[in-house]
């Protein structure tokens, strides 16, 4: 069981990811919808993995990813996005993301991506 922080500006998607993670035996230590909440939750709980949306209201995923990696160079961040342009994911991996999963996804897709991300 891993401690996971779910970051997405959509409450519906946060609910889906959190429920799928709990159903698959993980512990969701918190949910965040912007950069400020993400950094606060990360420093309070030190999760094993963060799931991070690419397009959020006030900041994009690149900004949040860079801020997380600046606060902890070992932070494991799994990008969760509907974007289908692979070159953008290449850039995110170069920025330190541990992997990505595209929306929509099944519980099995999410578990596979999380397991892979935790092992990275």
């Amino acid at each position: 069981m891993a401690k996971i922080l779910v970051v997405d500006d959509s409450p519906i998607t946060r609910a889906m990811i959190s429920d799928f993670l709990v159903m698959s035996g993980h512990q969701v230590i918190g949910e965040a919808e912007d950069l400020k909440q993400t950094l606060a939750a990360y420093s309070a709980h030190h999760p094993d993995l963060v799931t991070l949306d690419l397009s959020m209201g006030s900041e994009d995923g690149f900004t949040v990813l860079r801020a997380l990696r600046a606060s902890d160079a070992k932070a494991k961040v799994l990008i969760v996005s509907a974007n289908t342009q692979l070159e953008i994911y290449d850039d995110l991996i170069k920025e330190g993301a541990t992997g990505f999963i595209t929306k929509p996804f099944t519980i099995a897709d999410l578990v596979t991506a999380v397991t892979k991300g935790l092992g990275a």
Binding site: A15, M16, D19, T84, K103, P104
Partner: protein
Amino acid sequence: MNLSEDAQKALTAVVAAGAAGCASKLGEVTHHEWSVDGVTVSLDEAGPFAEVLASVAVDHYGSHLSFPGGSFLVLCSGKSGYLITSAFTRDVQDRVESMPKREAHALGEVSNIMLNPMLGHLAKAWGMSLIISSPKSGLASQREHLSRALARYKEGTPLASTFFIKLVSRQLFSECLLLLFLDRSLVEKIAAR
């Protein structure tokens, strides 16, 4: 904006192919089949909106998303919005049932998921890399949604073309109208390629 007939046909073909991907993704998230029931384009800013603006002012769910050089507006009636939301959230219904603005949140996310493959298709065809904004969704009259979508064009950015794409699901008894607005700067860039 003046576009040659060939350039207009090429642009429409790219958008129509993107719309097919959009319908397919919408089918995936709602677990029901969707199809494209027509793609029309207008190069005239004043003309194409008359029909929408003249229609009965029944509130619709509208999701606004933008990208560098253009924007999307997805319009759904209250009934379609409810049916799409219920289908999309079926696995987490207990948790989202009493969520305030459930439909608006769900339809924003559905729009995000279905428009990204379309934007990816357009970006690839145009040799670009594009990231879509987070959706802004709500319930309002079609006139209000359209005014909101066109506001940026009153601030000096000229509108070059508008695509009207109708998406229909006979299985889910639902339909959506997708509008794609392209700025003149982007269309000029595409036409020059």
